[in-house]
């Protein structure tokens, strides 16, 4: 029988183990990527976490590459649980080889050492195949950390039939947009929805206006949420909300889709990838939709914006980075893969492609035979590519969404919400050990 002293000693040893492990505290990923290229003939399986429906493209890869099998695992979209899961897997040292990470979240994963430096595996030679600004989303301090997949140039989806019936011009400026909204309301519809919990959607408009929510000054992050451009945008939507010209419903939810189906919502300023969502959720409106340039803040301009976009990242801890990089590059540049991705509605390709050569260049019966992607091609060229994302974007956007939600419940204005959120944005950055200040 063990003595009391022995039992206590065991207990103390068991207790000491984690405490000692704690002393070697390190930041971020618990395991670093180890490159060991498979021996010839050795089979490799890559795990890929994504919420984008790209199973068909992966099936094509698996068919063509029997030695490098990619196992797609569907995770909840971005902040609905996907990123939480990725962060946990990094901390636990058991991450997937590849993961879908949106452009805005790349700096966040970068900050916790969650991404593999791909420059060491020759990724820089692939650069020429991609649109430059999209490639730059995965570049930090001169090294490449992710392969871009798609972006979201913005345009105005609108119901041609309703505009014809009501005899209203398709608005070219935001002033005209408001005027059209007043007329549409008289006809018993609304021009669009204002989603309370979608800071990314809202951010597209200050971006279009020329605002920069975050910039860097040496090693300091400068936050400018409530600059004159952003406030102008906020005032515009404040006015639309106050006059009841927009429906305060979350986009991509049942009430929103009902509006698109019934004509209760006549337009939607959205990203290119919304084409698949409209097509899929309002199939009976086929032929009635068209796409125009995003309304302009200044008459005669062609400024566009971007909403969304994501990359294929190779997480820190992958055991097969070489094969993973090969697959990521194939997925995002192979013509066969791109066509399958386009069919799945994944967004505007990051690879340089000839519109006419791909599925994107065809006239589309859903949009009344319009070659609507020509509009998005123009928009893509007119995105201000100097916009940057902070490494706290998820968190900071959550603050904005929380504040906007309160505004829609009748507490304060969007402009005030932006002013309040600016301070929180700075605090978020500081809490991560970064230097940050407010722009004013």
């Amino acid at each position: 029988m063990p003595t009391r002293r022995k039992i206590l000693a065991w207990g103390a040893a068991a207790a000491a183990a984690p405490a000692l492990a704690g002393c070697g505290e390190e930041v971020g990923a618990a395991r670093t990527t180890t490159a060991a290229r498979g021996r010839p003939g050795q089979k490799v399986t890559l795990t890929f976490w994504t919420w984008v429906p790209l199973q068909k493209a992966v099936a094509l890869w698996n068919e063509q590459n029997p030695d490098v099998r990619v196992d797609v695992q569907t995770v909840p979209a971005n902040t609905s649980g996907g990123y939480q899961k990725m962060h946990s897997s990094l901390t636990a040292g058991d991450p997937p080889d590849l993961a879908q990470v949106e452009y805005y979240a790349l700096p966040e994963f970068m900050l916790v050492n969650g991404l593999t430096d791909l420059s060491g595996y020759g990724a820089d030679e692939l650069k020429g195949a991609y649109v430059d600004w999209q490639w730059q989303q995965g570049v930090f301090a001169g090294k490449t950390y992710a392969i871009p997949q798609a972006s979201g140039p913005m345009g105005l989806f609108y119901r041609q039939d309703l505009f014809d019936k009501w005899d209203i011009e398709v608005p070219a400026t935001w002033d005209e947009y408001r005027a059209a909204a007043v007329k549409i309301k008289k006809r018993g519809s609304l021009i669009t929805a204002f989603p309370p919990a979608n800071a990314q959607w809202f951010a597209a408009f200050p971006w279009q206006r020329g605002a920069h929510w975050v910039t860097t000054e040496g090693d300091t992050w400068v936050v400018d949420l409530a600059g004159p451009e952003s406030l102008e945008v906020a005032d515009f939507w404040d006015g639309m909300l106050a006059d009841g010209l927009v429906a305060p419903v979350q986009d991509a939810q049942s009430a929103f889709f009902k509006g698109l189906q019934t004509g209760g919502l006549a337009t939607w300023p959205g990203a290119q990838w919304y084409d698949a969502l409209i097509r899929g959720n309002a199939p009976r409106t086929e032929g009635r939709w068209r796409v125009a340039e995003l309304p302009q803040w200044e008459r005669g301009g062609h400024a566009s914006s971007n909403w969304g976009g994501s990359a294929t990242a190779i997480l820190q801890g992958s055991r097969h980075p070489v094969e993973a990089l090969e697959f990521a590059h194939w997925l995002n540049t192979d013509p066969g893969a791109i066509d399958l991705l386009i069919a799945a509605g994944y967004g505007w390709p990051a690879a340089k492609i000839e519109l006419a050569d791909s599925a994107l260049g065809k006239p589309d019966p859903f949009f009344g035979g319009q070659r609507y992607n020509e509009v998005f091609q123009l928009a893509d060229r007119n995105v201000d590519t100097s916009w940057r994302f902070a490494p706290t974007t998820t968190q900071s956007y959550a603050h904005i969404q929380d504040a906007f939600g309160r505004v829609l419940a009748g507490h304060g204005s969007l402009a005030d919400a932006l002013k309040d959120a600016e301070g929180m944005f700075v605090d978020d950055l500081k809490a991560k050990g970064l230097k940050a200040r407010s722009a004013r």
Partner: protein, 316 residues
């Protein structure tokens, strides 16, 4: 059991007798050992580790702070940072308000259910008890999804029926969503608490009731003057459980958040710590928030306990 022990004792004879004096039995440690080790490993060490982590911070340098990071000692910096976050502190106010209303309502309901069940004939008691207890068997997440359907306008039969009657209830609005969550929690835990109270009621000796009946007490008087005072320990226990549970409010708001923008990321302190740890990848700040939460929960539950025991002592 006793028969197998006795011969053993008889054989060891004087040794057993000698051990009884002064020092505690060595055998007791053998029984306590596994528990203590587990307690140390699963409880004390993680708490100490959380406290340790809450005193750390990441230091970053280089362009945009993306250079090589290092972990440094932060002292109480994370604590002051957490307490400066207005939304985090607001979360405490919210759960306190929640607890002040929800806990009494739930326990009153549990008590009434227990007293009623005590009156019901034996044949039905088992069935009813199981029925009341059933919601507790449903995981919180599932329960919230279920109630979520009943709250969302356009999907919910409740809102549509009330709408036909001319009411426009907004269960997920800014001022009402907290009480919609309270409703879910009451639904889930009233039956569980009832079970604890009823267990205590069953242990009351029948002679007491007989004596009361002889003294001329009706069912009302028996309930008020005998049953309720006697289940007081059970009520104290369930209140402490409920205080701790309230402070830890998490699954219900997290799940409801999907359909209710009014539920913010810092809606409850637990939610706030969760988002810091897993969405914002700041484990150290999350650790500080968790420690603050643990301290507040401890102060509240011990405060409540000392309050009721002091009253008990003065009553004696």
């Amino acid at each position: 059991m006793s028969t197998s022990v006795k011969p053993g004792r008889a054989r060891s004879g004087t040794a057993g007798r000698g051990r009884r004096g002064g020092r505690p039995d060595r055998k007791a440690w053998a029984f306590l050992g596994p528990f203590l080790a587990l307690y140390l490993f699963a409880m004390v060490v993680p708490v100490l580790y959380a406290v340790y982590q809450s005193m750390l911070k990441v230091e970053r340098s280089g362009p945009m702070g993306l250079g090589e990071p290092s972990v440094g000692f932060a002292g109480f910096e994370n604590y002051s940072l957490a307490l400066q976050q207005e939304t985090f502190v607001d979360g405490f106010g919210r759960v306190l308000l929640f607890g002040i209303v929800q806990v009494p309502v739930m326990l009153l309901l549990a008590l009434v259910l227990a007293l009623l069940l005590d009156q019901v004939s034996h044949r039905w008691a088992g069935l009813l008890r199981a029925t009341y207890f059933l919601p507790y068997g449903i995981p919180g997440v599932v329960a919230t999804i279920l109630w979520g359907f009943l709250y969302v306008p356009g999907v919910s039969p409740i809102t549509s029926v009330l709408g036909d009657l001319g009411f426009q209830p907004d269960f997920l609005g800014y001022d009402s969503v907290l009480w919609s969550i309270a409703n879910i929690v009451v639904w889930q835990f009233a039956g569980y608490n009832m079970l604890i109270i009823i267990a205590q009621l069953k242990s009351v000796p029948q002679e007491l009731y007989e004596a009361a009946r002889i003294d001329g007490a009706g069912p009302w008087q028996t309930a008020l003057r005998i049953k309720i005072p006697l289940v007081r320990p059970a009520l104290v226990l369930t209140t402490v459980f409920s205080i701790i549970g309230t402070m830890q409010l998490f699954a219900e708001p997290l799940v409801l958040k999907k359909v209710a923008p009014a539920v913010t990321t810092d809606y409850t302190p637990n939610l706030s710590a969760y988002f810091d740890a897993f969405a914002n990848a700041n484990l150290y700040l999350a650790a500080a928030k968790s420690v603050i939460l643990a301290v507040v929960a401890m102060v509240l539950s011990f405060g409540f306990l000392s309050l009721v025991t002091r009253r008990q002592r003065s009553e004696r």
